[in-house]
């Protein structure tokens, strides 16, 4: 198990009432597999992902990365060395070029990165489907699909084994969506990464190795 959540509880304070989004949630993910998490809008998918990616902390329960509490690793450290996060709204730095965006996490991580970071970044972008001419464009001059590819390349830049994505194709058309999903599949199956994707789409869920559904604060596995 590369990533495990144990008895996660998370609530939003609503006046003096607590509204639980996650109730004693347990889940585990393995390397080499492509997971999807389904759930209705407002069911708490993003909340769960924010806990798994250490952008937020649960009110109780633990998240384990390779059997180690991420709190112990340190949230910041975990984010820069162990996990790649992909967001629905790409979240790229608009004034930087694609390759510069990919270079940013390389300077932040403590993981081994080959000496020639720039060519690593170009290769990564090329692999994800961004040719050199586009890699040197500032990202606000790229299409949505291209921007999300850059975001994936950025998540991969630090050589992490764990990729978490929150509705990565939510803003893309079907064709583009399939291309992105193919990348995720390839990452899981060919490169032995653990890919967890939150989505609304049943088509995507059908292509994954395992799907969880989030309902009333509980995750249920779904074959």
């Amino acid at each position: 198990m590369i990533l495990e959540a144990k008895d996660l509880n998370y609530f939003y304070q609503d006046g003096d009432r607590r509204r639980y989004v996650l109730k004693n949630t347990n889940v585990g993910f393995e390397k080499g597999k492509f997971y999807t998490i389904l759930g209705q809008s407002g069911s708490g998918k993003t909340t769960l992902l924010s806990l798994l990616s250490a952008l937020d902390s649960p009110h109780s329960g633990t998240v384990l990365f390779n059997e180690k509490d991420i709190k112990q690793i340190g949230y910041e450290k975990y984010r820069r060395n162990n996990v790649g996060i992909i967001f629905q709204s790409y979240n790229l730095i608009p004034s930087f070029t694609a390759v510069e965006n990919v270079l940013v996490p390389m300077s932040i991580t403590e993981n081994e990165i080959p000496e020639d970071q720039k060519s690593v970044a170009y290769n990564l972008l090329d692999y994800i489907g961004i040719v050199k001419s586009k890699a040197d464009r500032t990202v606000n001059k790229l299409s949505g699909g291209e921007q999300q590819r850059v975001a994936i390349a950025r998540a991969l830049a630090t050589n992490v084994e764990l990729i978490l994505a929150d509705e990565p194709t939510g803003n893309l058309d079907e064709e583009m969506e399939q291309e992105i999903i193919d990348i995720f599949k390839k990452l899981a199956h060919d490169h032995d990464k653990c890919v967890v994707v939150v989505t609304h789409s049943n088509e995507i869920a059908e292509q994954s190795d395992q799907t969880f559904t989030l309902q009333k604060g509980n995750l249920t596995a779904y074959e």
């Binding site: 910041e76 975990y78 820069r80 790229l92 390389m106 970071q117 500032t138």
Partner: protein
């Protein structure tokens, strides 16, 4: 791409914002650099002028305080003489380079001709009073090398200075001016005779006549010449100088003891003539006593404040320390008021800068909230994100500050010229009191002060401006940086 590179990249990618920040820093920088320029210039004036005024100090009666008393107080006040032991004690203070205490008296002579200025000499006009006028000022000294020579008021041109033995014993030796020596054909080793006359004033006729007198024979051991004032002077000043020159040419340096003896003789003889005076002296028990004027030469003009602080508590009532540099305050009014103005402007400008730059940076940061959230979500340490912003602001600041370094200095020149000219007309003359110190000061006027005022682009100004400028901007950036520390990447990104 570490945070330093990221910062530099951000500046080049967002030129518009960098330019706005640059413009704001440049404008505020001009105000700051202008006021620092003026302050530095006035500071230099103070230093220069005080240097020129010299490092001499004396202890004397506080005439201003006396004048400010009402008559009753003035009548009842008893002014103690300055004790010789006290003078010696002050002389031992570490700030004092050397010191002397002087007595003086005026004596006439039948045989010795006084110097009356170049023109007078040629015309040969000699004003011969009844008996003789006391033409010669005897200046008693205790400091054998003669303080006036050390301080460059006069120079020994022939012969020698006193020996400490002679000063102690009150030997009948004297140093006279070369002019007097030439006029009277005196050589080193020659003797000359002065007359100590006690005058009696006839109340009915209103005439003065010599009651009794005695000869004072002195041996010439050295000749001095006044140090020529080689500064250009206006005609008025030149006349004044000439007048002072005559006085100095007729000065005769002798050991204090000689003057003490002659003054005592005067006092005692006068008591014989004037019974009323004798009775008064006896009644009050105020016998004759030596009155010394001390002069202290400090190691540096900068020590004068510390010297004054140390000496003032030792002094008897109504005495005060007068420093040569004190004159600065009365002649430097226009420069001083400008310095004050520049000081206020500086404070206002620095506060305004902190506020304005702080707001501008905060606005820019809010614009870049997303970018900052991305760094944080990628696990960047907040300190480095803060560092990146600091670098971005400081790079722009260094450019802006450097530009305003020159333009602000240039502006300051123009502004100070205008201000100085405006001030010049409304100068008020302070009432001046004669002080023993004046002999040891160069004659410096407000014009000299204004003239020596110069806005310069020197290293101390540059250092000062960079320090204040960059520090101000650093402080103004720190406030909005709190914003970064409080950013929540989850809220921004998800």
């Amino acid at each position: 791409m570490n945070f330093i590179k990221r910062g530099l990249l951000s500046i080049t990618r967002k030129k518009g914002k960098a330019l706005i920040l640059l413009a704001v820093i440049f404008i505020l920088g001009n105000v700051i650099s202008g006021s620092i320029s003026i302050q530095q210039a006035t500071g230099n004036v103070e230093k220069n002028i005080k240097e020129k005024l010299g490092a001499a100090a004396t202890v004397e009666l506080d005439y201003k305080a006396l004048e400010n008393m009402d008559e009753e107080e003035q009548m009842s006040i008893e002014i103690a003489d300055l004790d010789l032991e006290l003078i010696k004690q002050i002389g031992e203070i570490s700030y004092v380079k050397y010191y002397d205490y002087n007595m003086s008296t005026w004596l006439g002579s039948e045989s010795l001709q006084s110097y009356q200025g170049e023109e007078m000499d040629d015309a040969g006009v000699e004003v011969v009073a009844d008996g003789m006028s006391p033409d010669f000022m005897l200046k008693g000294i205790n400091y054998a090398p003669v303080l006036d020579f050390e301080e460059g008021i006069g120079n020994l041109v022939e012969g020698r200075i006193f020996e400490s033995q002679e000063v102690e014993n009150g030997s009948s030796v004297a140093i006279i001016s070369k002019k007097i020596a030439e006029k009277n054909d005196l050589q080193i080793g020659d003797n000359f005779t002065l007359t100590n006359s006690v005058m009696d004033y006839d109340e009915t006729t209103g005439e003065e006549k010599v009651a009794t007198s005695r000869d004072v024979v002195l041996e010439v051991i050295g000749l001095f010449e006044p140090a020529s004032a080689n500064v250009e002077q206006s005609e008025e000043d030149a006349e004044m100088l000439d007048f002072m020159d005559i006085d100095y040419q007729n000065t005769i340096y002798v050991p204090n003891e000689i003057i003490s003896n002659e003054s005592r003789y005067q006092s005692e003889e006068y008591m014989k003539i004037d019974e009323e005076y004798a009775e008064m002296v006896e009644a009050e028990g105020t016998d004759y006593s030596d009155i010394y004027t001390p002069i202290f030469v400090l190691k540096s003009p900068e020590d004068s404040v510390a010297f004054e602080e140390e000496v003032q508590p030792l002094l008897p009532e109504l005495y005060k320390v007068t420093n040569a540099g004190d004159q600065y305050d009365s002649i430097a009014a226009p420069v001083e008021s400008m310095s004050k103005l520049a000081g206020y402007v500086l404070i206002v400008a620095v506060s305004a800068t902190v506020l304005i730059i702080g707001l501008v940076v905060l606005l820019f940061l809010r614009d870049r909230k997303h970018e900052l959230g991305i760094y944080l979500s990628l696990g960047e340490q907040r300190a480095r994100v803060v560092g990146q912003i600091l670098i971005e602001v400081m790079v722009v600041a260094v450019i802006g500050i450097t530009l305003s370094l020159f333009s602000g200095n240039f502006l300051a020149q123009g502004i100070s010229n205008t201000l100085l000219n405006a001030e010049d007309t409304q100068m008020e003359d302070d009432m001046m009191y004669y002080s023993e110190l004046q002999a040891y000061q160069n004659n410096i006027t407000t014009d000299d002060v204004v003239e020596s005022y110069e806005v310069r682009l020197d290293s101390s100004y540059i250092l000062m401006f960079y320090l204040i400028g960059l520090l101000t901007i650093l402080v103004s950036t720190i406030i909005p940086l709190v914003y970064i520390v409080r950013l929540n990447p989850k809220k921004i990104m998800m």
